[in-house]
Every structure is written in structure tokens, then in C-alpha cells.
């Protein structure tokens, strides 16, 4: 890498970290470091019970989405593949929607019904995809992507059905959920997400050399003695679990999983297994920055995070498609 790239990388990382550090102090009520030091009770509560957990939550969410994207793109050798394009998040939204329309309150273990149903929706979608992929000949690439698109469309229609059935209050809840939110109170949700993120990162790290072989080609991995089918299922399962946990807590946050792996590979054109950690870090910081934008743009009430990531991700997605077709 020449020195200009190195400089751009450093500046970019510094910028991201700076914004992430500034992030908990900004929002509908601006805080100052002094407020925290002078034991201002309200400021301290805002900082430690709302802002800090939120930044942590956003960081972990960005990490899960980016790692999920990197993993799916590698396993299916398709740069457009993410847990989202396969309809896993649509499944979660549909599951959460059912809980909302059924008017269910809190369920077991203090976890909201919306979360449990959302998680079930995501997991059922994964099982459905695995089952369907047995009937398509070329399950690796395009066919699976098309299956995911078909599923997403089906879920979209089902969601319309739920809107049709729901009353005004329920529909408002449903709309809020589909827009995605990183708003958390306290540390219960960040903790759940920490488990999911640690599991995903741990598995990717543990199987990094196997994944590296698969990233060359599936045959190459099998020739080196890797049980590619078993490993693919295992990693897909773990990634879907983590993404399922995330989407059921936050609602869908689009495009992060798609764009972050592509940005990181531009920053670091190096071997896959060395890109796992930068992807996790960059993804986390990137979503924190997006969330900071969402909270600072409109001071009346914050912009839903899904809108911000889609506004950034949409154009990038188009750029990616055009660039690919020029190759």
C-alpha cells in the first residue's frame, strides 16, 4: 500500500473513533464532560443509562451486521449476499409483526414477545432457506439469492396483511419497528447483543483458516480436508442466530452488512482472515457514526437509524452494481 492509502486509512479511523467518542455527548439534550464530573444527577443518568448503552449497542450491532455480511459474501462467493438479502431480517420483522398484532405483552425471562417472535421468524427463515436450497441445483450463488428475494417479497406481502389486520396503535408500533431503532435503556439489551457478537466473532476467528480455504474455492477447501458442507451450515447457523438476536431487538438496519465488507476490502486489500477484525471494528464504528448522524440531524426527535443507513447504503449499492458490470 502506498503512503497516501495509509494516510487516508489513518485519518478515516481517527475520524470514526472521534465521532464515536463524541457520540454519547450529543443528542436531543447535549451533555458536557463537566456535567458528568460535577455529579449532575440528570446528566449522569442520561449518559450512563441511555447514551452509553446505546453507543455500545450500536457498536455491537454494526459489528454483527458487518461480520454477517463478510461471512455470507465469502461462503456464497457473491458480493451482494448478506443475511438481509436472504430474507432473514424480513422473517424477523414478520415474526415481530405477529407479536404486535396479537397484542402480546411481556413473555418469559423478561424478554419482550416482539423479540422472541422476531427471533423465531429469523430462525424459521434460515431453516426454510436450508430446506429450499436442497431443491435448487446451484445452491451456491444466484439461485439462493433469488430464493432470498422471493422470500423477502413474500414476507413484505405478509407484512401488508398484518397492517391490514392491525389497528392504528399497532400499525404505528409496526412501522416504528420496521424502521429500525438503536434506542435502548440500561444494559440488558447491549448484554444480549454482546453475547451474540462475541459468539459470531469467536466462531469466525476460530475457523478463519478454514474460511480462508473456502474463500479460494469450495473444492480447494475440500482438497485440504475441510468438511465444507458441515462448516458452512455451522457458520450460517451462528451468523443467522446473531443477526436474528439483533433484528429482534432493534428491527432491521439495512445496508451495513452489504457495504462495510466492501469498504474494508478497499481500505485493506489483504487476505480474508486478516480482514475479520478490521471489518468488525469498522462496522461497529460505522453504525455508531450513522446513529450519531440520526440523533443530531433532527433535534425534535431522532431520525430512525434504518433511514440513515439506507440513505448512505442505497447509493453505494448502486455504485457497486455499476462497478461490477464494468469489470
Amino acid at each position: 500500500m502506498d503512503w497516501r492509502c495509509v494516510m487516508i486509512n489513518k485519518v478515516l479511523w481517527l475520524l470514526l473513533i472521534a465521532v464515536a467518542l463524541y457520540s454519547p455527548f450529543t443528542g436531543s439534550a447535549a451533555l458536557h464532560l463537566n456535567d458528568l464530573l460535577t455529579a449532575d444527577a440528570l446528566s449522569q443518568r442520561i449518559f450512563f443509562e441511555l447514551r452509553l448503552p446505546r453507543v455500545i449497542f450500536a457498536f455491537l450491532a454494526g459489528m454483527i451486521l458487518s461480520l454477517g455480511g463478510l461471512l455470507f459474501q465469502t461462503l456464497f462467493r457473491n458480493p451482494l449476499m448478506t443475511p438481509y438479502t436472504l430474507g432473514i431480517s424480513s422473517g424477523a420483522v414478520f415474526g415481530a409483526g405477529i407479536a404486535i398484532i396479537l397484542g402480546m405483552g411481556s413473555l418469559a425471562f423478561g424478554i419482550a414477545a416482539i423479540t422472541l417472535f422476531g427471533f423465531a421468524g429469523a430462525m424459521l427463515t434460515v431453516l426454510l432457506l436450508i430446506w429450499l436450497s436442497r431443491y435448487v441445483k446451484e445452491a451456491q450463488g444466484t439461485s439462493l439469492l433469488l430464493l432470498g428475494i422471493a422470500l423477502s417479497l413474500f414476507y413484505a406481502a405478509s407484512l401488508m396483511m398484518l397492517f391490514y389486520l392491525g389497528d392504528a396503535v399497532q400499525n404505528d408500533m409496526l412501522i416504528r419497528f420496521t424502521m429500525g431503532s438503536l434506542s435502548v435503556i440500561g444494559y440488558q439489551m447491549p448484554l444480549l447483543l454482546l453475547i451474540a457478537a462475541a459468539l459470531l466473532l469467536g466462531m469466525l476467528w476460530r475457523y478463519r483458516y478454514e474460511l480462508q480455504l473456502i474463500a479460494i474455492s469450495e473444492d480447494h477447501a475440500r482438497l485440504k480436508g475441510v468438511n465444507t458442507k458441515g462448516l458452512t451450515l455451522l457458520l450460517l447457523g451462528v451468523a443467522s442466530f446473531s443477526v436474528g438476536v439483533l433484528v429482534s431487538l432493534s428491527g432491521p438496519i439495512g445496508f451495513i452488512g452489504l457495504i462495510v465488507p466492501h469498504i474494508v476490502v478497499k481500505l485493506y486489500p489483504i487476505v480474508l482472515h486478516r480482514r475479520i477484525l478490521p471489518t468488525a471494528l469498522f462496522g461497529g464504528l460505522f453504525l455508531v457514526v450513522c446513529d450519531t448522524i440520526a440523533r443530531t440531524l433532527n433535534t425534535q426527535s431522532e431520525l430512525p437509524i434504518g433511514i440513515v443507513t439506507a440513505f448512505i447504503g442505497g447509493p453505494f449499492f448502486i455504485y457497486l452494481i455499476i462497478k461490477r458490470s464494468h469489470r
Partner: protein, 240 residues
């Protein structure tokens, strides 16, 4: 020694190999027309595809996971979805079958890699990304990876198909040299290479195989014409 007993493969309805029984004591050169099943045979040997019948390595049917320590397959062309892997990192993957699970590569692994790179004069390219290499360099990198795998048998699948004459000569001589320390199975359309390789010939046509223990008998123009269905001038096809 590799022993094939009644090996049969099919893709869906289509039978590609029919009841092939051969034992490979030393080296073997596999020839045949396009689509005759040469590569299928190689894939069956490495268990990349399902087959009927049995393949024994030194008298035992090997588990898929252990196979990588016995046999290495070198494809005609290097294909990688991850284009940014460097030569050194790619060659290091040849040590994967010898690595303890969930550990990093050892110093011994890295030493083997740098020794192999030196032997093939690839040291200057060590840190370059794979996608920046020429076809000839890529073929050498594939060979380097296969050597670090340290398996008894190496299969070359059309090693010279994408190479210019100078690189083809280089690779041909490396293959010839490897015959001294490995069991080499060569699959090719390049009759000059097959002749130079100097090993028993297995000719596959329509799923059946004929073995020529003495390869000179195979390279008679009449025999070549009979097998390939075109006229030959020595080892060269007559285009007129």
C-alpha cells in the same frame, strides 16, 4: 500405491466412467478426448465427487479428512474468490492438513513454505497478491502449495494448458523432477508432455479405460490416430 476397483461415476443420468480397475504403482499419465472423464477420474481420486466402486490408498480406503495427507490435486488454472491473498499465504495453506485444529501455523510450517518458495524461485513474489501474477507464475504457486502439503501423490490436471512454450518447458521439467520423490499422476492433452513424462498411459474413451504399460506402444502414429480419430505426424496433429 493407488488401486481403483470397478470405479464408476455418473453426473445425473450420464455415465462418465464405467468400471475402471487399475493399480497405480508408480506414475501414471491419463489421456483422452475432451469430456472423456479424465478430470472426473481426478476428482474421484480426491473424493471431490461421489463414485461407486472403491479406491484404495496403500491398501486402505481413506477417510475424506485424512486424504489431504495422501494426495494433492493441482488444477489447470488457479481460481480464487479472495484475490488479495499473497503468494506466501496461499502456499502456507498447503500446510493446513498438517496443522493442529484451532491453532496457528507453526514455525516449522513457515520454514517449509519459505524453503519451497526458494526452491521454485518464487521468493521475490512472496508478498504479491495472487491476482497480479501471470498464468505461468500462478501454476508455479499451485505447485509450491502442493509441495508444502507433503503428500505422497500429486495429480496434475492439464498443467501446461494455459502456459506459453517457455513456461510449459519449465513446468514439464519440474514435473519430471518431482517423479523422483512423489507418485505423479498427469492428466493432459499435451502429447509432447505425456511422452516426455515417460510413464504408463491410461487412455480413457467413452468411460472405458485402456492401460499401456509401455508408453512407446501408445505413441505410434497409427495408435494415436485410432484413439483420437485424426491423423498424426509424429506427436503432432495434422491440421490439413
Amino acid at each position: 500405491m493407488i488401486e481403483l476397483r470397478n470405479l464408476a461415476c455418473h453426473y445425473g443420468e450420464r455415465q462418465v466412467l464405467r468400471n475402471i480397475s487399475v493399480s497405480v504403482k508408480d506414475h501414471l499419465c491419463v489421456l483422452g478426448a475432451n469430456g472423456s472423464g479424465k478430470s472426473t477420474l481426478a476428482k474421484a481420486l480426491c473424493r471431490l465427487i461421489d463414485y461407486n466402486g472403491s479406491i484404495l490408498y496403500d491398501g486402505i480406503a481413506c477417510k475424506t479428512a485424512d486424504l489431504a495427507q495422501k494426495i494433492t490435486y493441482i488444477p489447470a488454472k488457479l481460481e480464487s474468490y479472495d484475490p488479495y491473498i499473497s503468494v506466501e499465504e496461499f502456499v502456507l495453506l498447503g500446510r493446513f492438513p498438517h496443522k493442529e485444529r484451532f491453532t496457528d501455523y507453526s514455525d516449522k510450517d513457515r520454514a517449509i513454505v519459505s524453503k519451497t518458495l526458494q526452491e521454485l524461485n518464487l521468493q521475490p513474489l512472496a508478498s504479491q497478491a495472487l491476482h497480479t501474477l501471470s498464468s505461468g507464475e500462478q501454476q508455479l504457486v499451485l505447485i509450491a502449495q502442493a509441495l508444502t502439503q507433503q503428500s505422497r501423490t500429486i495429480i496434475f490436471d492439464e498443467p501446461t494448458a494455459n502456459l506459453d512454450p517457455a513456461n510449459a518447458k519449465k513446468v514439464a521439467n519440474i514435473i519430471k523432477m518431482l517423479k523422483r520423490s512423489y507418485t505423479v499422476i498427469l492428466i493432459s492433452h499435451d502429447l509432447h508432455l505425456a511422452h516426455y513424462f515417460d510413464a504408463p498411459i491410461l487412455f480413457i474413451a467413452d468411460g472405458d479405460a485402456v492401460l499401456y504399460e509401455k508408453n512407446e506402444t501408445f505413441f505410434e502414429p497409427a495408435r494415436l490416430s485410432h484413439h483420437y480419430g485424426v491423423a498424426f505426424d509424429g506427436l503432432a496433429v495434422r491440421y490439413d
